[in-house]
């Protein structure tokens, strides 16, 4: 046993300028995969984005990103991650606001 497993590795066959690359993400699943794919597809500079969970017994997902204009897919990945974080923050704020200020039905549940 040597070094710890890397969270993200660049898979074989990526373009040298990273304009097209597949990233293997360790210990993640459809939870992050699908959300990240959606956010990457919202980027107009992304030509193609898809992800897969290659095998149920492998604890990884693979995210393929191809860019227009030879832009870096790694930059697009970082932007998508920031945007996802902003999204989560917005949902969190909206939920807490509703919980605090909205009038909603409260009821006693028997167990």
């Amino acid at each position: 046993m040597a070094e710890p497993i890397k969270k993200i590795t660049l898979m074989k066959g990526s373009e040298p300028d990273l304009s097209a690359a597949t990233y293997q993400i360790y210990d993640e699943s459809h939870t992050i995969g699908n959300a990240l794919r959606w956010m990457l597809m919202k980027n107009p500079k992304v030509e193609f984005c898809g992800y897969s969970a290659p095998h149920p017994s492998e604890n990884t997902i693979q995210v393929r990103i191809q860019m227009y204009d030879n832009l870096s897919s790694l930059t697009a990945l970082m932007d998508a991650l920031s945007a996802l974080d902003d999204l989560c923050e917005s949902v969190d704020d909206a939920y807490k606001t509703s919980l605090k200020h909205d009038a909603y039905e409260r009821w006693e549940e028997r167990s």
Binding site: K6, K7, I8, T9, L10, M11, K12, S14, P16, D17, L18, Q24, I25, E28, S29, H30, T31, I32, N34, A35, R37, W38, M39, M41, K42, N43, P44, L74, L77, M78, L81, S82, A83, L84, D85, D86, L87, C88, E89, S90, V91, D92, A94, Y95, K96, T97, S98, L99, D102, Y104, E105, R106, W107, E108, E109, S111
Partner: protein, 358 residues
């Protein structure tokens, strides 16, 4: 007659007699010519609507409107599999002469939900060394004996014997170290005291030490913080032609109770805007030839009706914020890894990228 507040047809998933249509979202850049559709936080925040509908001490229902299914599903998946709780993981059996085997009884004890606030307990690290910060200890000692005062001719085990059942209420918390102070407000115990763990007869005894640790649902379902966490899409019903008055009651019966209003005098049919969420979209109405082309059924693709039932460790209203925080921790973790990759790539110089060792 159409719905008062018309909905953008692009948001609708069509529900027809034999098929569903327009399932996938299309709000991507490049899908529609001359439309932007790229990610825009302000636009997202303007469209986003979160509204709590019902709250009890065990469950919460809320609407999440304006997000993609991938986001709603991420929250649901995290709620099921990654919000941590504290439950019994290690069981040390000193004595078990009941008819239920050690491992089966240990498994049953593991499934008992505890009221321990997971924020007060640390996750065990790689060494798996128990400390008062990461382990909560319970003792379980129950012995069954005959009740000397049992009524004559009784056949009821509850009267004949003392302790004829091992119950979740028999778990006795053993505070260690600083735990007495940490858990002072809410002493650790099962959320439900009446769970039968084993049945005993006179002479049988159970004596065990139970170690509860923090874990997540993807390791074992017993750690799941929720009983269920699910969503469905808001149904949408459009009545396209007036329903003939003599068919109004039959039309109403095609839907869940409360969804369709029939005016008691004029027999005019309308959709109840508030109760429409109660509809199950059974498509019953589409089976009757007399209603052909009179009604259109659909669901709203980005209007999620969330329903979360807590298992007891968290107050139900705390669950979504916990899930969102876990999502954001994941994102932060990934950002760090991506940045490391970016710098590694810079250091490697002209196009010599690192490759995955496969």
């Amino acid at each position: 007659m159409t719905s008062r507040n018309a909905i953008d047809p692009r948001r609708l998933v069509g529900v027809h007699a034999e098929r569903v249509t327009n399932i996938s979202s299309t709000d991507y850049p490049g899908h529609y010519p001359d439309e932007d559709n790229s990610w825009n936080l302000e636009k997202f925040q303007k469209n986003l609507k979160v509204k709590v509908q019902r709250l009890s001490q065990r469950s919460i229902e809320f609407d999440l409107v304006g997000v993609d299914a991938s986001i709603a599903n991420a929250f649901r998946r995290i709620l099921l599999a990654e919000v941590p709780t504290v439950v019994v993981e290690h069981v040390y059996v000193w004595d078990n002469t009941s008819v239920i085997q050690d491992e089966v009884l240990a498994h049953r004890i593991g499934l008992v939900p505890l009221n321990i606030d997971p924020a007060l307990v640390e996750m065990r690290d790689a060494t798996n060394q128990p400390t008062d910060r990461n382990t909560v200890v319970f003792k379980l000692q129950v012995a069954c004996e005959r009740n000397p005062h049992a009524p004559k001719n009784s056949k009821n085990p509850a009267e004949l014997y003392i302790n004829h059942e091992v119950l979740s209420s028999h778990l006795v918390w053993e505070p260690a170290g600083e735990q007495e102070d940490v858990f002072a407000a809410n002493p650790p115990a099962p959320t439900n005291p009446n769970i039968v763990l084993a049945k005993l007869r006179p002479g049988q005894e159970v004596e065990m030490e139970l170690h509860a640790v923090k874990g997540v649902g993807k390791d074992h379902a017993k750690y799941s913080a929720v009983a269920t966490a699910s969503y469905r899409l808001l149904p949408h019903i459009v009545i396209k032609k007036p329903i003939p008055p003599h068919l109004a009651d039959k039309f109403q019966k095609c839907f869940a109770p409360g969804v369709i209003n029939v005016h008691p005098l004029t027999k005019e049919v309308s959709v109840d805007e508030h109760n429409i969420r109660k509809d199950t979209v059974t498509r019953e109405v589409l089976r009757h030839p007399e209603f052909t082309d009179m009604v259109e059924l659909s669901r709203i693709r980005d209007h999620f009706l969330f329903s979360i039932e807590s298992e007891g460790a968290y107050a139900p209203e705390r669950l979504l914020p916990e899930a969102i925080q876990i999502m954001r921790d994941k994102i932060a973790n990934l950002r760090k890894a991506a940045e490391a990759l970016l710098h590694a790539d810079d250091a490697a110089g002209d196009g010599d990228v690192q490759m995955a060792s496969v």
